[in-house]
């Protein structure tokens, strides 16, 4: 016999989240993830001029703001059949990378780690040190990280005017030409951030982290001297066995990101016990258990609809259920690195699939992988060469923008009729990860990851559930939009 328990509000996730748990014999027998906030951006965008989307869509999300801008700019460029000049492409990479890396840092230090300072862990050998370092708002880490993050975000002042919510990211490139002295200041900011990561987060050089090729190498590295917050987390992860908790679908998807000359820094693809083809045409959104009126079968986003309804039998979320060829996929930094072929990422999922520890390590790994690429992009900028070309979308056209936000794959699909937005559909990373069930009753990725975890109907919610939920780095603002 099972008991039903509603838990919320989940804090330290971006936006609003509640979860209904069915509990039987001290375990979660089923989880139902509810995104309880609806704003209706897809409705707001209908009838607008295509270029006005660039003002509206970043404001879907305060933490993935540039990712939303970039996806929209790509969709508009696709609709216009244009591409930015090299400076514009490099500036877009740098702007998105700055947001993504800052988000990884924010997630680790402000959202994820404070849960290990909970009283529940008071008997653990690492608890006292963790309280001193990571406790929310008062620990040494949050107070050390905020100034370092603010210093790093000065990249945005130069690249994008401000963050969040810039208009610098345009389909034709960047509105912000950079001159040599500004490029030098960006270079200095990157150097400082690298020094911060190497001394505080890793206690190691970035290339040392980037070259770790397996779980065994990671475990061996953890035992080496050097300190740093990653080693502290790995010790906790080993003690709590976070490598075997939080398994989702083990189907990992990435749209790929950071355009370089003839490739992307991280390739697009699908990984399910091996490389598989990613067929964007096979994406469809199912609204069986979401509060939307829908006609018939799941729809591809290019022809999707968003019609909220106040009451609906069987519905429990404002989040639609996107599926790839009918399958649930997981997206995020771990998925991105597994698909891109990083040996540590692939080895981390080989034994126990996606896990709390693997997701967290993959995020920190990306800090070590992307920062050197940013140095390279900065060096490739050429002041005096063009930064932005004009784009003229046709009156009747459509476009797609696929990109990787910090927390996973983000897609925008736009249709233009008579010069106005006829339809604009968005599938955000957490729409994938935190989707409700579909018409076949198939639970979403988090719903699968929570099943089987310990829980009781009356006691305080075990911290392990918090770890699993936050390991996905959810952004609920984006999820429903």
């Amino acid at each position: 016999m099972s008991t039903r328990r509603i838990v919320g509000p989940f804090n330290r996730v971006e936006g609003d989240l509640e979860i209904t748990l069915d509990i039987a014999a001290g375990r979660v027998s089923a989880a139902y993830v509810n995104s309880p906030l609806y704003r209706g951006f897809e409705q707001i965008l209908q009838g607008k001029l295509p270029a006005d989307a660039l003002v509206l869509v970043p404001r879907i999300c305060g933490i993935c703001s540039v990712a939303q801008s970039a996806a929209s700019a790509l969709a508009l460029a696709d609709a216009a059949g244009m591409a930015p000049p090299p400076n514009g492409r490099l500036a877009a990479n740098l702007t998105l990378a700055t947001e993504n890396l800052a988000d990884h840092l924010t997630h680790f230090y402000l959202f994820f780690m404070p849960d290990f300072a909970r009283a529940e862990y008071a008997s653990r050998s690492w608890h006292a040190a963790t309280v001193a370092r990571f406790r929310a708002t008062v620990g040494s880490a949050p107070n050390q990280i905020l100034p370092a993050r603010a210093r790093f975000m000065q990249m945005m002042g130069l690249l994008a005017g401000k963050w969040p919510h810039t208009l610098a990211v345009q389909p034709g490139g960047s509105t912000r030409p950079l001159q040599s002295s500004e490029i030098f200041r960006l270079h200095r900011t990157l150097r400082e951030f690298r020094q911060f990561l190497e001394s505080v987060t890793f206690g190691a050089r970035l290339d040392e982290i980037a070259s770790l090729a397996s779980r065994a190498e990671l475990d061996a590295w953890r035992m080496t001297p050097g300190g740093g917050d990653l080693r502290a987390f790995l010790a906790i992860a080993a003690d709590l066995d976070l490598w075997q908790v939080g398994r989702g679908t083990d189907r990992f998807m990435s749209y790929g990101c950071y355009a370089e000359d003839d490739r992307r820094l991280f390739a697009a693809g699908l990984w399910h016990q091996g490389e598989a083809a990613l067929d964007i045409a096979a994406i469809a959104e199912d609204t069986t258990h979401a509060w939307y009126a829908a006609a018939g079968l799941p729809q591809h986003p290019a022809s999707g609809s968003t019609l909220p309804v106040a009451e609906k039998d069987g519905a429990y979320s404002w989040c639609k259920a996107p599926r790839l060829g009918g399958q649930v996929v997981e997206t995020g930094a771990l998925a991105r690195q597994v698909v891109a072929g990083h040996p540590l990422a692939r080895d981390m999922v080989a034994a126990h699939g996606g896990s709390v520890a693997a997701r967290v390590v993959a995020r920190l790994l990306e800090l070590a992988l992307v920062l050197p690429a940013m140095d390279r992009w900065l060096a490739e900028l050429v002041p005096g060469e063009p930064w932005c070309v004009e784009t003229y979308p046709a009156d009747e056209t459509s476009g797609v923008g696929l990109i990787e936000a910090a927390r996973g794959s983000l897609g925008h699909w736009i249709t233009v009729r008579r010069g106005r937005i006829h339809n604009y559909q968005i599938i955000a990373p957490t729409t994938w990860n935190f989707s409700p069930r579909d018409s076949g009753g198939q639970p979403g990725a988090l719903e699968q990851a929570l099943a089987g975890l310990p829980a009781s109907a009356s006691e305080a919610l075990p911290a392990i559930i918090h770890h699993v939920v936050r390991s996905f780095d959810p952004c609920m603002a984006c999820t429903v939009h």
Binding site: I44, A150, G157, K162, H165, R176, H466
Partner: protein
């Protein structure tokens, strides 16, 4: 002074902007100013049951709230139920929680243009019937009504902006903590005057281009953005070009228009955001307090007086001509 922060129909960007504060560790700054975070959804440890119990206590008066900060629009739909946002783990709509706690709090602060006026969430068809705490666009009213006053006699304090600058938030809260914010410190829209009595135009590095109406016609050009590219910096109330963003940024420094995001109704300007609306070649939105005839006369005069250096640089994305060097001594 304690502070309860709740989020509703917004993007969380006001909090993210705030966390980018550049004056040292934000949490220590707050403690140093005597501000205690009762709960903030993005940064506090307490979650789930603990958080819900705390908020219930705030709503029924068992815990006194000094400052209630609301981020995000208040969603009244569908059909007045508030059902587009039910606060985590309960059946009660968020607007009910906000009404109950606002009625007891010593001060109520709208963080950002969504909670001040409705903002972006109220754009287009406003599918969720979004409004601000005490405004619905330009109209006084909103969720709490035009007559709302806190126990000290203040209306809702509107730290408007999309997002607000981190310092606007911190400075407003510090002023409340030190009992230094009175009605005389708020403008006609309830915005703190320390930033709202400035214009975005003040300190704009494109001022020389503005003086000569040497205008950019395409993005990435260096000229003034007012005449062609939709910039409202000469009318927008904020100090964005004096108190810079993320180091040395601002919208205009980033090369794009000020969209007047601190004003009610900015989300529906009635024209494309980055195109200046004109009648007979004259921009509709004139600089604040400037008589139209004088603007036209001065614009015509300054255009004809534009130095070649300024004219050519305005249409380039980098400096083509440097200012000439004048020797004063032989």
């Amino acid at each position: 002074m304690n502070l309860l922060w709740l989020q509703s129909g917004g993007c969380g960007g006001c909090t993210l902007s705030w966390l980018g504060s550049e004056h040292g560790p934000l949490f220590r700054v707050l403690a140093d100013e005597g501000i205690e975070l009762l709960w903030h959804p993005s940064v506090s440890e307490a979650g789930v049951d603990e958080a819900r119990q705390l908020i219930e206590q705030c709503a029924d008066g068992r815990t006194a709230v000094d400052v209630l900060c609301i981020e995000g629009s208040l969603l009244r739909g569908p059909r007045g139920t508030g059902g587009f946002h039910r606060f985590g783990g309960g059946a009660q709509p968020m607007i009910e929680w906000v009404r109950r706690i606002a009625a007891r709090a010593r001060h109520v602060v709208a963080i950002g243009s969504c909670s001040a006026w409705g903002g972006i969430t109220a754009a287009g068809m406003n599918p969720t019937d979004a409004c601000g705490l005490q405004y619905d666009g330009e109209a006084s009213g909103g969720l709490l009504g035009p007559d709302f006053r806190d126990p000290s006699g203040l209306p809702v304090i509107n730290v408007a902006g999309c997002p607000p600058h981190p310092d606007w938030i911190t400075e407003t809260l510090a002023a409340l903590a030190h009992d230094r914010l009175g009605a005389q410190h708020l403008d006609d829209y309830g915005r703190p005057r320390f930033y709202a009595d400035q214009l975005v135009h003040h300190g704009c590095p494109r001022n020389e281009y503005y003086e000569f109406k040497a205008s950019a016609s395409r993005h990435s050009e260096q000229g003034c953005l007012m005449e062609q590219l939709g910039c409202k910096g000469t009318q927008a109330h904020a100090d964005c070009n004096q108190r810079l963003w993320n180091g040395e940024g601002s919208c205009l420094r980033g090369g794009y228009a000020c969209i007047r995001c601190t004003d009610p109704g900015f989300e529906e300007p009635g024209h494309p955001f980055t195109t200046t609306p004109k009648v007979a070649g004259i921009p509709i939105g004139l600089p604040a307090d400037m008589p139209k005839a004088w603007f036209i006369a001065l614009a015509a005069l300054s255009k004809s007086a534009t130095p070649a250096r300024v004219r050519e640089n305005a249409h380039s994305d980098h400096l083509l001509r440097a200012p000439s060097v004048k020797r004063t001594k032989r």
